[in-house]
C-alpha cells in the first residue's frame, strides 16, 4: 500500500486542481463557520425568549461543542473535495493511464487500491482542515471552557468517516460514468437538490425512510447543530432522537461504503479497460 501511495503522490503533487482544492477548502471551511458564528452572535443578542433559550445551550463554537458544530457546518462543503476525487478518477480514463498503469505492471486490484488511498488521503486532509478550524474556534470563542477541549472528540472520527463515505460515492460516480462533467453534474444535482428534497418529503410522507438515502445515511452521524434546529416543545426529544441515531448510522455508513468499494474492486477485476 505504501508504494501505491508513493506513486499516487507522484501523480498528485504536480496536479494543479489538487492545490486549488486544498486552497479553497482551507478558505471555505473556516469561512462557513464564521458565517454561522455571526448567526449565533445575532441570536444571543436578541432580546426575546428565543434568544434566551439559545443561551442555555452554551456557545456552539466554544469547547466542546465546537467539535460538533464545525463538523456539521463544514460537511455542507463536501462538494469541494468531491470535485477533486471525481477528477482524480476520470483523469485516468481521459489520459488512458488507467490502462497504462496496468500495462506497466500494476494488477487491477492495485489500481483500485491506489484510488482508495487517494480518497482516504483527501478525506484525511479535509479532516485536518476541519480539526484546525474547530480548534481555532474553540480557543477563540470562549476561553473559559478551554479545559473541556477533550469532550466530544468523537466528532473527529465521525467527520472523517462521513467525508470518506461521501467521497466514496463521488468516486463511484466518477469510476462508473468515466466523464468528469457528467459525473460532477449528477453528483452536485443529486447531493444538493434531489436528496435534500427527497429527505424532507419522505420525512412527512413516508415515515422518514429518507434516512436510508446514500448521503443521508452518513449525514445523520453528525446531528444538526442544536442552535439552528427547530425549537418547539419537542426540541429536546428531537435532539435526543438524533443523538440516538448516531450509532446505527455509523454502522450503515460503514456497510454502504464497504459495499461501494467492493463493487469497484469487483467491476475492475472483470471488465475490459
Amino acid at each position: 500500500m505504501l508504494s501505491l501511495i508513493k506513486i499516487e503522490w507522484l501523480k498528485i503533487k504536480k496536479y494543479p486542481a489538487f492545490w486549488w482544492m486544498l486552497g479553497i477548502v482551507t478558505l471555505t471551511y473556516p469561512g462557513i463557520n464564521l458565517m454561522f458564528y455571526y448567526v449565533y452572535q445575532d441570536i444571543v443578542s436578541e432580546k426575546n425568549t428565543r434568544g434566551i433559550a439559545k443561551l442555555f445551550l452554551g456557545n456552539p463554537f466554544a469547547f466542546p461543542e465546537t467539535w460538533h458544530s464545525v463538523a456539521f457546518f463544514s460537511s455542507f462543503f463536501i462538494v469541494l473535495p468531491a470535485i477533486l476525487v471525481i477528477m482524480l478518477v476520470t483523469n485516468e480514463y481521459n489520459y488512458r493511464t488507467h490502462r497504462q498503469n496496468i500495462i506497466d505492471g500494476w494488477s487491477r486490484n492495485n489500481f483500485i487500491s491506489s484510488k482508495l488511498a487517494d480518497v482516504l488521503i483527501v478525506s484525511l486532509i479535509v479532516t485536518i482542515v476541519y480539526l484546525l478550524t474547530a480548534l481555532s474556534y474553540g480557543l477563540y470563542a470562549d476561553t473559559s471552557t478551554i479545559n473541556r477541549w477533550a469532550e466530544q472528540l468523537q466528532y473527529i472520527p465521525l467527520f472523517y468517516l462521513q467525508t470518506f463515505a461521501q467521497l466514496s460515492i463521488a468516486f463511484l460516480l466518477g469510476y462508473i460514468i468515466r466523464k468528469a462533467f457528467i459525473a460532477l453534474g449528477i453528483f452536485l444535482f443529486y447531493n444538493i437538490v434531489v436528496e435534500n428534497i427527497g429527505v424532507a418529503w419522505l420525512k412527512y410522507k413516508a415515515n422518514d425512510i429518507g434516512e436510508f438515502l446514500p448521503f443521508e445515511i452518513s449525514d445523520r452521524m453528525i446531528p444538526v447543530a442544536s442552535f439552528i434546529g427547530n425549537f418547539g416543545k419537542d426540541a429536546k426529544e428531537g435532539y435526543d432522537r438524533a443523538v440516538a441515531a448516531i450509532v446505527p448510522h455509523v454502522l450503515m455508513t460503514i456497510a454502504l461504503t464497504s459495499l461501494i468499494w467492493l463493487i469497484c474492486y469487483r467491476i475492475h477485476k472483470r471488465r475490459d479497460l
Binding site: 506513486i7 493511464t97 490502462r99 496496468i102 505492471g105 500494476w106 487491477r108 492495485n110 475490459d272
Partner: protein, 298 residues
C-alpha cells in the same frame, strides 16, 4: 528453448463481432515478431489481452512460461495503441511513474532513454505541449526504460515523420542485434518486412499464418529478366523446363520457380549460348505486400 510468449486458442468478441477467433502461436526468444493485419483484424485486441487490458473469452497465454501476471508485465516494455501519459506532468515526471510502477530501470536511466528518443531538450515540458510525434517518442522511451529483454510495440512509428520512422526502425534493428525479443504490430508492410524475422498475419480475427518470414513469404522464387531482343528471349524461355510458369509484362519476363530451385547462372549461360545477352537478371522473393494481399483477399 522456451518461447517468450505462447498463445493458445485466444478468442474475443465484442457483442456479435468476433474480434479474435482461436488464435494460437509462439514467439521464440530473440526474434523480431511482426503481427500483421488490415485495420480491424484484431492486432490491438490481441496485444491488449496479452497485457491484461482486455479479458479473453477463451484461451490462455503464457509469458516466459508463466500465466500472464503483473510481474511478467513489469518485465516487458510496452507501447499499446496510443501514448498514455498524465497531461499535466513533464516527460521526466511521467517516466518517474512508469519507473515506479514497473520497477524497470532507475530514475537515472530516465535521462538516458529520453536521450535515445531525442526528447532531452524538452524533457521538462508538460506532456500536453508535445506534438503527436513527440508523444510517440515518449511512449517508446517508456517502453525502453530499464532495458527490458522483451518489447511489445503496437504501431511504433505512428505519428512520426520520415526521419523519425527511420530512426525507430534502426533502433528496433539495433535492439534485435542485442538479442532482445521484439513483438510488433503494424499495418505498414514495408516496416515489418524491413525489420522482422518472424511474422503472424491476422484477418478478421483469424490467424492466417505464422512463422519465420522466409517460410511464410517465400513459397516461390521469382526470376525477373529482360534483353534487348524481347521476342527471341521469349522463345528461349518458353523452352525452359524449370519454372512453374512464366509471365510477360512488356519487355520484362518473370519466371516462377519452387523455393530454392532457381539457378541464375544457368539461366544466364543458356540465354547467352542461344545468342541473347541479358540486360537484367534478378532473383526476387515474393514481396510481403504481394503475399499479404494474396492471403487477406477474399
Amino acid at each position: 528453448m522456451q518461447p517468450v510468449l505462447s498463445i493458445q486458442g485466444i478468442s474475443k468478441s465484442y457483442g456479435r463481432i468476433q474480434a479474435l477467433n482461436q488464435v494460437s502461436f509462439d514467439v521464440p526468444a530473440g526474434c523480431v515478431f511482426g503481427i500483421l493485419g488490415p485495420n480491424g483484424s484484431g492486432k490491438t485486441t490481441l496485444l491488449s489481452i496479452l497485457l491484461d487490458i482486455l479479458r479473453a473469452d477463451a484461451g490462455t497465454y503464457r509469458w516466459f512460461g508463466e500465466p500472464g501476471s503483473p510481474a511478467s508485465r513489469q518485465k516487458i516494455g510496452s507501447l499499446l495503441e496510443t501514448p498514455n501519459f498524465y497531461h499535466y506532468l513533464s516527460a521526466v515526471d511521467n517516466l518517474n511513474i512508469t519507473q515506479a510502477i514497473s520497477g524497470r530501470g532507475t530514475p537515472a536511466d530516465i535521462d538516458q532513454v529520453l536521450e535515445i528518443v531525442k526528447l532531452s531538450a524538452r524533457k521538462k515540458s508538460k506532456f500536453s505541449t508535445y506534438s503527436l510525434g513527440m508523444k510517440q517518442r515518449l511512449a517508446i522511451a517508456g517502453a525502453l526504460l530499464g532495458n527490458p529483454d522483451v518489447l511489445l510495440l503496437d504501431e511504433p512509428t505512428n505519428g512520426l515523420d520520415p526521419v523519425g520512422i527511420a530512426e525507430i526502425r534502426e533502433l528496433i534493428k539495433q535492439l534485435a542485434r542485442e538479442g532482445k525479443t521484439i513483438i510488433m504490430a503494424s499495418h505498414l508492410l514495408d516496416e515489418v518486412e524491413k525489420v522482422c524475422t518472424h511474422v503472424a498475419i491476422l484477418k478478421k480475427g483469424t490467424l492466417l499464418t505464422a512463422g519465420p518470414v522466409d517460410e511464410v513469404l517465400s513459397n516461390e522464387d521469382i526470376v525477373e529478366l529482360s534483353a534487348s531482343n524481347t521476342d527471341q528471349l521469349g522463345q528461349i524461355l518458353s523452352a525452359f523446363a524449370g519454372p512453374s510458369h512464366i509471365k510477360r509484362d512488356g519487355d520484362l519476363f518473370e519466371l516462377f520457380y519452387p523455393v530454392g530451385t532457381a539457378r541464375l547462372d544457368e539461366i544466364n549461360k543458356t540465354c547467352f549460348e542461344k545468342g541473347v545477352a541479358l540486360n537484367r537478371l534478378l532473383l526476387k522473393k515474393k514481396s510481403l505486400e504481394a503475399k499479404f494481399f494474396e492471403l487477406t483477399n477474399d
